[in-house]
Symmetry: C2
Subunit: 340 residues, 2 copies
């Protein structure tokens, strides 16, 4: 959504955005979101300035209050360290950050939105087929390069792409709430594996201790977090060595009442501890390698399709689509013919 009649050249826009021009930053993000060669050139330009931000994923089912938690983490961090700028990237379309808010939330977010040291971006309307994950990691990179030292990525904990996105963060906070019951099941079914910190929010509700206990039990039963290695083809070829279970970080289980700001300091302490753990432990290196491989794979997938689409003519492509639509050929054979 660059609104000027002739859009700025990417190097000019990058320059302005990195110098702190927030409107340039917004426009740069939009151009990067759109993908393609323009995005690539922008990302190659900013890359030397990335890698400094602490990237924290916050994921959880609707109703756990994860948006409120994100908002309170941001406010607390700003109060403690006013010199640190914070970026918030909301991938959940139901998030208040994406406009899907009830009134109380909207008021809470307004405080934050009025803080010049906080930049909020919603990814609610992005496309699919891998586009969302690619766009989100790219937007995070732009914020990183622009000097945001803490970047919070909020994703709903229920979609595979959202789990992939959370995985791109150095530290993943999984948010629970008492009395939702089913959500503990959701964690069991896959999110637990990516949790570095477990937060039981709405801890003033009945049943908080049983939720905490259930999470402890699940951690005890938890399988080794190897599944990250099963995602992505590149890693099946170039898998890093496993860290032995005994040496691995055990996610702390923290209680918060985000709406009252209770327990936020402890969450940020745990984030700092996790960061320290990763920097001094082979797992930190291993994770960086997995992230690099996933990122490379995402880029390669997109690039390979782009290259191929440039070679293939629209006529041939249209004919194949027509044939598959008419069921005169199966899509696998059609793809084989197109590729040969």
């Amino acid at each position: 959504m660059a609104n000027s009649k002739s859009p700025e050249a990417i190097p000019v826009l990058v320059d302005r955005a990195l110098q702190g021009d927030r409107r340039a930053l917004s426009r740069l993000i939009s151009r990067v979101e759109n993908g393609g060669t323009e995005a690539w050139s922008a990302l190659a330009l900013i890359y030397p300035r990335t890698g400094r931000a602490q990237i924290v994923g916050v994921t959880g089912a609707p109703g756990t209050g994860k948006s409120t938690l994100v908002s309170e983490i941001a406010k607390y961090a700003r109060r403690q360290h006013p010199e640190i700028a914070i970026g918030i990237v909301a991938v959940d379309p139901t998030s208040p950050f994406s406009g899907g808010a009830v009134l109380g939330d909207r008021i809470r977010m307004r405080d934050l939105a009025g803080d010049a040291g906080v930049f909020i971006r919603s990814m609610a309307t992005r496309g699919s087929l891998g586009g969302l994950a690619r766009a989100t990691t790219d937007v995070v990179k732009v914020l990183d390069a622009a000097g945001f030292q803490l970047i919070l990525i909020e994703t709903v904990g229920a979609g595979q792409s959202e789990i992939d996105i959370a995985r791109t963060a150095a530290t993943v906070i999984v948010v629970e709430a008492p009395g939702l019951g089913d959500e503990v099941q959701a964690i069991k079914a896959g999110i637990l594996e990516i949790a570095d910190i477990l937060v039981v929010n709405k801890a003033d509700r009945d049943g908080v201790q049983s939720t905490v206990n259930a999470l402890h039990t699940m951690l005890d039963l938890g399988k080794a977090p190897t599944s990250v290695l099963h995602h992505g083809r590149l890693l099946t070829i170039a898998a890093p060595p496993q860290v032995p279970a005994a040496e691995r970080w055990r996610p702390p289980i923290l209680k918060t009442i985000a709406a009252e700001g209770t327990g936020i300091a402890e969450v940020l302490d745990a984030v700092a501890q996790h960061r320290a753990y990763l920097s001094g432990h082979p797992e930190g290196q291993q994770r960086a390698r997995v992230r690099a491989a996933i990122e490379l794979e995402t880029i390669l997938r997109e690039a390979l399709l782009q290259q191929w689409l440039q070679r293939i003519g629209p006529v041939e492509l249209n004919r194949a689509i027509e044939q598959v639509t008419a069921r005169t050929i199966d899509p696998y054979s059609a793809a084989e013919q197109l590729l040969s």
Copy 2:
């Protein structure tokens, strides 16, 4: 997870599965899920027998009771048409079909699981980076070929890949429930566009009429469902013509109490009406074309990466991953070097 020591040849397995051998069907599905050339050959073999099933996506947030709705639809359809076999594919890891159930649900599912005319498959543990969508559509094809005439795909309505999957169905039911509030927001944020039928479940709860009214308002305000065309690169090259808004199907809004079996007949009527609409309207053809293009694109993306991985050596790939991990090169430039 074919468990025999020497797995059956694919043509043998396909033969048995299509002749009604349920254990062979399960094994075939596992082999197809795993992807690769074996899956392709199986899918090419079964393709001539696909295209007959009615494929219905059922999507909605946790708490709307969509699993119960799926289960009741299946039971009702089985009672009305005992000759019709029904397949259920659950993509939601929190679904009772995937084992993430509370006790009441589990009992409800048990009835269904005991019915030889119903085949239930959970996709809860599938991989990522497009793998889930690919695997789900492939499993649906196997069920279609094996003679299941009604296939229900249950997805949680909160993830982009899940929306993609729902889109592969001919008819998409979006499930709401009163008193969740936020979920109407979720619909607003993207799911409404893919809804062919809106169901307000738990209609014995307070607030049912305001949920229905909110949905009517949203339908009135609703933008043209063009966004389907923005997903996928192939369609930007080979986009089908748009159907004028006035001629388009308006999703009916139905009330159900799935846990009591109330309103299920009306849902199945609406599914039949939607099917009739699609078969007599250009939109049916247009949708088939969009589905074909998305499917072709998914296959091409995977195949292009596979082809490329076979050409590239693990040494070169590992070196690129190391360099990106060490941040001595940005992933875009690394990809460019790998591709050149």
